[in-house]
Symmetry: C2
Subunit: 312 residues, 2 copies
């Protein structure tokens, strides 16, 4: 095994890059902007440029690099083919082959939610567990499934599309995927804000949230922490939908552990407790005590996981 390995996590606005020792230590992590113009055709070259510059700075030679893991915000199938990444402007192509041509490195690619789950299993909250489900509560709701220490991505790379579990029959608005009542419509940061507007409109309750001209998920979660009754009600509603969704996942996969990540995980224990309360209410008796943890690697989960993909 060579000395160094790169982990890359491509997001819609920034690309996170990490330089690791192959024994697993993160030496340095940095970010570059994601240039989505021209259908995202500069993205891979930008990564190559940034990585090459870092190697020059540190005096690292090409033959000291074991490889590069790349996480992308869209489905990836086993041969390294990206089926399309709307946020990047990418359509279908083999990102492993393309990136290998550009860099000369051995490349392994995976879906961002999946590699975050793999990263948590390797060096985060999922350490020591073989089967886990990670839920990423961000702008959307993502999911990563690890079975027997490996990413399980299923046919068409669609395994772990937890955000599109149908949770409600009476939803009138459509989800981005075209369906109605998807988990993501309630439990993402966007969904939480949507629910807050609904509660504020349908209720007469006093709330600190009424002072805000523009609401964001952090404000709602902060208000709930400070005991704002309406914010607590909103959080309970979202928590019950999430808890039920995860209980249903347990009926199917019965994972060793659930890990909650994404921007909303920053709310911490208050979020975890409400999810777990409803999870236990909806869970099949034998899996009621499945443990829940918050992400430990936070925004770095993706770069850790993409490195783990390369190391195998």
């Amino acid at each position: 095994m060579k000395k160094y390995v790169f982990g890359v996590d491509i997001g819609g606005t920034t690309i996170k890059i990490g330089l690791f020792l192959t024994e697993g230590t993160l030496l340095e992590a940095w970010e570059i902007p994601t240039r989505t113009e021209d259908n995202g055709k500069h993205i891979l070259d930008d990564i190559h440029y940034s990585v090459t510059k870092k190697m020059e700075q540190l005096g690292i030679m090409h033959n000291e690099i074991e490889g590069m893991g790349v996480g992308v915000p869209g489905p990836v199938i086993d041969d390294g083919t990206v089926l399309g990444c709307v946020n990047l402007g990418w359509s279908k192509f083999n990102v492993e082959e393309k990136m290998c041509q550009i860099t000369g490195f051995r490349i392994k690619a995976g879906n961002d939610a999946n590699i975050a789950a793999l990263g948590e299993m390797w060096q985060g909250s999922g350490c020591g567990f073989k089967n886990l489900v990670m839920i990423t509560l961000g702008t959307g709701v993502g999911g990563g499934i690890i079975i027997d220490e490996h990413i399980f991505s299923g046919r068409y790379g669609a395994a772990g599309e937890i955000g599109h579990l149908v949770m409600k029959d009476d939803e009138t608005q459509s989800c981005g995927c075209g369906k109605k009542g998807c988990l993501e419509q309630y439990a993402s940061a966007t969904g939480l804000v949507r629910m807050a507007h609904k509660f504020l409109k349908d209720s007469e309750m006093k709330s600190s949230l009424r002072m805000r001209s523009v609401l964001d998920a952090k404000e709602i979660l902060d208000a709930a922490k400070q005991g704002d009754e309406l914010a607590v009600k909103i959080l309970e509603e979202v928590g019950s939908i999430l808890g039920k969704g995860l209980a249903n996942i347990s009926c199917i996969l019965s994972p060793d552990i659930f890990i909650i990540g994404g921007g909303m995980a920053k709310a911490g224990v208050i979020l975890l407790e409400v999810i777990q309360k409803y999870y236990r209410e909806y869970a099949f008796p034998t899996v009621k005590d499945t443990p829940f943890r918050l992400t430990e690697l936070e925004n770095n989960a993706g770069i850790y996981g993409s490195v783990k993909l390369v190391l195998g």
Copy 2:
């Protein structure tokens, strides 16, 4: 590899036993009653007695037997421990060790729904697929999950408890598991009859089902086949709940194929079509075309699968 192998599938009323060649051919299948008295303590001895008799009849020697696979109606963990089988009166014990002591054979045990799925993958409707989900619509609703050609039973053996996906928020009656709104309450044979009674009570529609003093699932499905409008409505309701449940499973696992088995599968194409219609309505776009098939091995799926467990 020795010449013969036994497959056993223990049900609540009968035990199915099959003698196979280790190359995979079923030579003979027969049934014995399940004696559940005295907490089911005669069951393993009864199987041993029946198998020994068959070997004597056919002149098969003990050293010609590769092993015996045993399917049980309850959760089994990887080391062969049964966590309890309510229908048999069994509490927790290691069925592989016990059966090995009794027979002297190498024993592998698995949950009945899981081994049925494995059997279908090996020589039935799932032949050629590596990842599949089998749903067994019988007295209850069971599920078997095959990942990378192996049973996935998860922590506590609870993976595949598809019957306990929470599907409805407004259910007033409790499921056997203690929760409310479980898939099994609608989509099992028992659930179908329950739904029929509800529809008959809540509607004024004429129906051939009104003539029956006691309803069973077969009559309801037959009436639907013959175009009885109310029976069709009942089937549509049940199909929509099942279709949504399977669409949610696709969001998590994205299997290569769904296989429908159990007593209700005898209704055939009419059942398959209604499930698939609603599946497509609720499924995430990339998995709308996941194929559905009916069980090919029918009641023998379990003995095939338990043999496959032994053969590895």
